[in-house]
């Protein structure tokens, strides 16, 4: 087996198992643990999860590919997801995408050459009253203005 969970991840996995009456219910949380461990959910990561849960890799593959939040491919250190659904569109989401595209020199769906940023268009993130908005990794950034976008991306771009 190619990949193995760290001790910490194994501990998290045991905790997750205790929440449900079946082992299979731990599949979604385990895929999150795998994503945090390995950066993305590769085929090897799916095999590891399959082994731990005790189901076939095909079963895990079916689940992992159904849900958009499991990154099957490597993504940048910062995953910039701009909501382009209706309420955000009404408030200029397309201009936000264009602005960030130009700033980072990538189109939606692409990753910068230094592996720092991936830009994506996403559906409604449930923050429509503060449109336009985006999510970067776990955090929401709302009521975006060009100045705000500059500040956020410049700050993230400067760290290493």
């Amino acid at each position: 087996m190619g990949l193995e969970f760290s001790e910490r991840a194994k501990g998290e996995f045991e905790k997750v198992l205790s929440k449900y009456p079946t082992r299979e219910a731990a599949i979604l949380p385990s895929l999150y643990i795998a994503q945090r461990e390995f950066g993305h959910v590769s085929l090897e990561a799916m095999e590891t999860v399959a082994e731990m849960i005790g189901v076939s890799p095909a079963r895990i593959y079916g689940v992992a590919t159904f849900y958009t939040m499991y990154n099957k491919e490597k993504v940048g250190k910062y995953l910039v997801q701009v909501c382009c659904n209706i309420s955000c569109a009404l408030m200029g989401a397309e201009e936000v995408i264009d602005y960030i595209s130009e700033k980072l020199g990538i189109k939606a769906g692409e990753t910068t050459a230094d592996g720092k940023f991936t830009l994506m268009r996403v559906e409604c993130l449930g923050a429509c009253g503060n449109a336009p908005m985006m999510q970067i990794n776990d955090d929401y950034y709302e009521n975006l203005t060009p100045e705000k976008v500059d500040e956020i991306l410049d700050k993230l771009g400067a760290d290493d």
């Binding site: 299979e24 659904n85 309420s87 409604c124």
Partner: protein, 431 residues
């Protein structure tokens, strides 16, 4: 500014409104204590008498739903629907961020009423912060003895867990949610069996929206009459409305059901952004039929009034659209959304949503024809009603309302071959 009718939002804006200490100061968990001193059937009856209707979209009486749970000795579950994916909807996020204890207390009440042994709060995966708030509230409640073994010393055991979704709108549909909780693809199930017969882990299950559950502590504490003081005869109580789009102050507003739509826009939301003219309103989330400005006159924010105007209250997500908005582009956003979110099990939905998105896409690019409009209506009409879940109907809704109501605009767009070069929205992204 707290109004007398602020039931769900009474603690929002207080410092540390999400903490146990704050919640207890305003009489928190007294209702749960009271409920556990009542017969479970009386808890359901009280919620039914209050006239509370499900806030997830369908508006089904919550108290009645609870009585559908069979009274055998299998374990029973409550699933709280915090998937909040219907575009335009952003209220459950605020309940979870600002007053997660109201939700936890509601869960205790609901579970006692149904004699459930555990509750799962199914939270959309993107809601990392709200999920953390709910988890912290659950942990605080365990520490106080409000959850776990022998709650309030009444010999009742209840466990509450959070479960994160992973990015699929269809998981908000209750049977898809159950599949997703079980670690499967989030695809809706064929009914029967209905969840109360065979739901999560094959056991009797009830799925309720966050807001429905959060309303129950007030009802138990103050009685059905106090709740019915607000709202209309058939739409009792208050509701959270999520207002987005072209208003000066978008946001979540708790107002009594039956409040005039124009009062919500003009008074609560400060009127139209840049004082532009109102063009249309989508009153209850992206799948509910759009209303032209003139159709909004005299409409009140309750289930019956919005239905009489030809739309639905849905999740209470009101999307306000100003003059200058291109309806062709806006519809295209929605058709693509539903095509992306169809789970693919039913041919009419999978093919229909894909086809509609393709057609609106070519119209937007200036490559459509007037016949395409009738084709769209015909696809939309044929795909609804024959599917496992209502997502197909939801996808058909915007097409069936945008095109007839803005037919001239669609035809002009097609004839003049306008394209995205023209600004589709009256707001410039700045400031």
């Amino acid at each position: 500014m707290a109004e007398e009718y602020h039931i769900l939002t009474k603690n929002w804006g207080k410092p540390d409104s999400h903490k146990m200490a704050t919640y207890l100061e305003s009489g928190g968990y007294e209702a749960a204590k009271k409920a556990l001193g009542m017969e479970p059937g009386d808890v359901c009856q009280t919620v039914l008498d209050a006239g509370l209707r499900g806030r997830g979209g369908a508006g089904f009486p919550t108290g009645r739903k609870w009585t559908f749970m069979p009274k055998d000795d299998r374990p029973r579950y409550l699933c709280v629907n915090a998937d909040e994916g219907e575009p335009g909807t952003f209220k459950d996020r605020d309940i979870m961020r600002f007053d997660p204890h109201m939700l936890v207390e509601g869960i205790i009440i609901a579970c006692w009423g149904m004699q459930a042994c555990a509750a799962y709060v199914y939270i959309r995966g993107e809601f990392v912060e709200p999920a953390q708030r709910v988890q912290d509230a659950i942990d605080e409640a365990y520490a106080k003895g409000f959850l776990g073994e022998d709650i309030f010393g009444k010999g009742y055991k209840l466990d509450v867990y959070t479960h994160l979704g992973a990015g699929a709108y269809v998981c908000g549909e209750e049977t898809a949610l159950i599949n997703s909780l079980e670690g499967k693809k989030g695809q809706p199930r064929i009914r029967p069996p209905f969840p109360p017969q065979r739901g999560a882990f094959d056991m009797p299950t009830t799925v309720n929206n966050v807001e429905s559950i959060a309303a129950t502590p007030f009802i138990i504490a103050n009685g059905p009459e106090a709740y019915k003081k607000w709202g209309t005869e058939k739409s009792a109580g208050t509701k959270l409305f999520c207002v987005s789009g072209h208003v000066k102050k978008p946001g979540v507003y708790e107002i009594p059901l039956g409040t005039p739509m124009m009062e919500l826009i003009d008074k609560h939301c400060g009127g139209m952004l840049d004082d532009m003219k109102l063009k249309a309103v989508i009153p209850g989330g992206s799948s509910t039929p759009i209303l032209r400005a003139e159709e909004c006159e005299g409409v009140n924010m309750d289930y019956e009034s919005i239905a009489a105007a030809g739309s639905m209250l849905g999740s209470g997500a009101m999307i306000v659209i100003g003059e200058g908005t291109c309806m062709v582009t806006t519809l295209d956003v929605l058709t693509h959304f539903y095509a992306h979110e169809s789970c693919g099990q039913c041919t009419p939905c999978r093919e229909g949503t894909g086809w509609m998105a393709q057609i609106t896409g070519r119209i937007v690019k200036g490559e459509g024809s007037v016949e395409d409009l009738d084709l769209l209506i015909s696809i939309a009409t044929n795909m609804s009603g024959n599917t496992i879940c209502p997502l197909a109907d939801a996808a058909a809704g915007p097409v069936k309302s945008f095109i007839p109501k803005f037919r001239d605009e669609f035809e002009t767009y097609i004839r003049e071959r306008s394209s995205r070069n023209e600004r589709p929205y009256p707001v410039k992204w700045r400031k």
